[in-house]
Symmetry: C2
Subunit: 136 residues, 2 copies
DNA sequence: GTACATTTGTGCGTATGTATG
DNA sequence: TCATACATACGCACAAATGTA
């Protein structure tokens, strides 16, 4: 209802905003199933393309995961492992390659942490369930 | 030529692969302009939709930036600031909100580093130009 | 300033394939 | 088998951004 096709803001951004707000309000709790594409099309009077773009936006923000044939779910806070690293390390972040995504079982919109230590191989850690602390 | 529409791999993923390979070969150097959507459509015999998806894939990997009205450019290695943190901190990563993206001037496909210290406010750092090191 | 060409952005429609239960 | 839901891919049209003549 709050979608205005003549706004300066693209329709799919507005739609994503509505869903994002519902998530942040807790109206869509972690694990909850989002309305299907067809529902969004019906209820907001937009094309499927527009609905899919809104969903893709949230997916790339790491807020939801989409399972083909099922739907999109609100991502919960995953249990995080704390990784202790020594003082000589450098920590950076980036998006994973497709291969790393598969390897680490990362959903779209999830970065990785890269821990480098001189003379050692880089360590690539899943960004959605890793916290780094320093330790001697 | 190396694109097979009947492959198990979606056309847009194959096309993205070709471009990614060109980047990694150095055939498309940092700063270089990618072929326009129209060129990709012409030369590979795909729809614009497919070409755009391939480009979006690379953008979400953080490999290219797209400037409306101009085209897509290969991202170079940005100069990185080294941020020194004390031993009590925790370091995590995630995708930025739209607001943070604007604030930090982050291209799409760029995560942020989040540095937390008990009793202090979280520090959100641009993931494309920050490396964290430990210091007393 | 204006007009134009180029390029990307948005939005719609359609069809078919794949995944799930 | 069947219904539902998402994925891929094509087509079209118009808008907005950019740079240039």
């Amino acid at each position: 209802v709050t979608i205005d096709p003549r706004s300066y803001e693209p329709t799919y951004v507005q739609l994503a905003g509505l869903i994002r707000a519902a998530i942040e309000r807790g109206n869509l709790a972690p694990g909850a199933l989002l309305p299907s594409e067809a529902s969004l099309v019906q209820e907001h009077g937009v094309s499927r393309e527009t609905a899919r773009r809104a969903i893709a936006l949230l997916r790339n923000e790491g807020r939801i995961v989409t399972r083909p044939g099922r739907g999109s779910y609100v991502r919960g806070v995953t249990d995080t492992d704390v990784v202790y690293v020594s003082r000589e390390v450098q920590v950076a972040t980036r998006m994973p390659s497709a291969h790393e995504r598969q390897q680490l079982e990362l959903p779209e919109g999830t970065p990785v942490l890269v821990v480098s230590r001189p003379g050692h191989e880089e360590q690539v850690l899943p960004g959605d369930r890793t916290i780094i602390e320093f330790q001697d």
